[in-house]
Symmetry: C2
Subunit: 168 residues, 2 copies
DNA sequence: TATTGTTATACTCTATAACTATA
DNA sequence: TATAGTTATAGAGTATAACAATA
């Protein structure tokens, strides 16, 4: 029923997948520590990251991009505003909306995080042959794409009847 | 647009690293959803996972393995005990300690999670050429190892003088 | 004196629901 | 009527600190 390809033996999938989970855990931990060293959290650093890439943004857009509730965005921004990393200003045309921007300090923090980030990349991949790195990149790309596909609704309906209704 | 083999100057590290972070995020999300479907959380599922692998374990050992405080373990186990996944029993020789074991239900839950896990591995890696999978596995192994090394104290002493003393 | 697990307290991230101001 | 952001409330994960029972 399974046996997609691989032979009678044991597919290496579980082993690789386990490494993948391990990676997620240890990479998450690295992010937590790295951000904590500057008085941030992973969630707040993600906000700064998007503001750096997208420029001034409404809270609504942040809510969509981060996939969290508007209320959650309010909380994250309250923290980041209190720590001086972002400012809130009125939207020029829509008086309901708020534009969030990086402060100087917020920009400086992102720059430092980017620096560490690049150093980390170099340390992690240094010495890897080009061919391996290409293959790694290809497979990684596929895995991320498939995960996103599965997450976007096609995913693991293992027990559909038990799932709570979400289509109200 | 991409140019994987980009020029002498710019290593493709940042691009791959960005994918890696993306993977960590989306894989974490998949774990959150997958566990939530059975009334669990990622942290609680991790507890069940270790109990499955290690057998009955003291809370102290769980605290060490999970890298969280003993207080945190208490909270996680309170939840898992309330939901019927684990039991606490007195340690046979050390009357201070508590042995945590999986219940039948806890074991069944782990088995189901393992099943999904394997199906996920197949779906993610199906169609990947053996050579690519080997290279992927090799690089992934190295990356995880290096991350763990960096996390274990050798990591990013960006500003050593600012670090609080920990050797009191 | 050191260790195991607990209570007490607090902070962050997350969510839903109800509400205000605007569109 | 619909949208942007807020207050109110709640739950989970995490942490430190103080404490009890035991080693």
């Amino acid at each position: 029923m399974k046996s997609l390809h691989n032979a009678p033996g044991a597919p290496p999938f579980p082993e690789v997948l386990e490494r993948l989970f391990e990676l997620a855990a240890v990479l998450g931990g690295a992010m937590d520590r790295g951000t904590a060293e500057r008085g941030l959290t992973r969630a707040r650093a993600t906000v700064l990251w998007y503001l750096h890439r997208e420029g001034p943004t409404t809270q609504r857009a942040l809510s969509d991009i981060l996939r969290v509730t508007p209320r959650n965005v309010t909380g994250l921004l309250d923290g980041l505003q209190g720590s001086g990393h972002v400012t809130r200003s009125p939207h020029p045309t829509d008086r309901r909306a708020t534009l969030v921007s990086l402060t100087e300090q917020g920009q400086a923090t992102v720059n430092r995080l980017r620096g560490e980030y690049q150093g980390l990349g170099a340390r992690l991949f240094d010495g890897v042959p080009d061919g391996d790195l290409d293959a790694f990149s290809r497979v990684l790309h596929q895995v991320v794409d498939r995960l996103q596909y599965l997450a976007s609704g096609a995913g693991t309906p293992v027990d559909d009847s038990a799932a709570p209704r979400t289509d109200t």
